[in-house]
Symmetry: C2
Subunit: 207 residues, 2 copies
């Protein structure tokens, strides 16, 4: 499992979502054609994607929904729960703290940090916004795997470095800044400005 293309992981994730829908409909098996349709690809691509991780399914019988779901969850690292801290308690941080997809997928938000004295101490459900100054001293007790970064652009790189120093090994970055982190730290960028500008570029240049 050294190098798996990002696009493959993305499709595995879409197959998993599709399987959950298929399961909710009560179906027990699924064909690569059905998965392809729901994942926006071809059945050959589905078989190729899945074959990377071993043999699945039986020729002509399709895949068992429950087996394939379990295998995909294991491949994607969803067989356990992850500890997440949110850094930046502004609007984006607040929206994310309420996002039901986090706990549903096994991501538990265990802390929220900010540097603004007006926000520190605020109650967010079961959490209380903590002073970002305690990021390092909290590290051992909280043992966050993932930091969700939602701070002003000027603070992003520094906060990312502090999160990594505190033991975080993955960052979900909502700040429109390209972070520079050690190679063993995974970063995913969610950047609304980039998405919007890709659309306006397409609208402008396709006429």
């Amino acid at each position: 499992l050294k190098r798996v293309a990002e696009s493959t992981i993305r499709r595995l994730s879409l197959y998993l979502t599709a399987l959950e829908e298929i399961d909710a409909r009560g179906a027990r098996t699924v064909s690569s054609e059905e998965l392809a349709q729901l994942g926006g690809t071809t059945s050959a691509q589905v078989r190729k994607d899945l074959s990377v991780f071993g043999s699945f399914g039986k020729r002509g019988l399709g895949y068992s929904v429950s087996e394939l779901t379990a295998r995909l969850r294991t491949i994607l690292g969803l067989g356990r729960r992850w500890r997440v801290c949110i850094i930046g308690a502004g609007k984006v941080g607040a929206a994310l703290a309420q996002y039901p997809g986090f706990p549903e997928r096994g991501f538990d938000i265990v802390a929220v940090y900010d540097t603004d004295p007006a926000r520190i101490g605020e109650r967010w459900g079961e959490l209380k916004v903590r002073d970002a100054a305690s990021l390092e001293t909290d590290a051992k007790r909280l043992a966050c795997d993932i930091a969700v970064l939602a701070v002003p652009a000027a603070a992003a790189q520094k906060m990312a470095e502090r999160a990594v120093a505190a033991g975080v090994r993955a960052i979900l970055n909502f700040v429109p800044v390209q972070l520079s982190v050690p190679r063993n730290v995974a970063v995913r960028n969610v950047n609304m400005a980039v998405e919007l500008e890709a659309l306006s570029f397409a609208l402008t240049n396709r006429g």
Copy 2:
């Protein structure tokens, strides 16, 4: 301007964000090295990216911040305002309707739709949630360029088709479904499950 790689558009967008920060600091010129650092790339890449769109900057003098900002805004289609409708008035739709980045970047939300009678008629600031049944009849009057899709997965493809039939030429898709649309319709996917699973995959497989 036929084919420009997605990764190039993404970097142009990051350069623009960087230029706005540089401008806020009061600087009048910027070097390709500085842009490279802020955009997480190399100065050679910056020069290559910009050269695709004509000649910018003077050797040894760097780029004029105001000129380059204006050129990037034009390239990215930000020289005008875009009309956006949100389809799906649930939590995601509500969070997006309040996102200040939309109007700041020239994206005006002109309508919100839902199919749930309990939501139709709700006041959202200056907007009122409209019945999705009126999507087609509203089309001419509202003339939406972009649809933001935030509906349940089972409704996504059908709603995307209706939005396209109503004249939308770009979709920002928050639903974890691969949409199938005509080639002249631009789609960008923002999929939190995919991002989270990419991180858990990386955490699991990098050890």
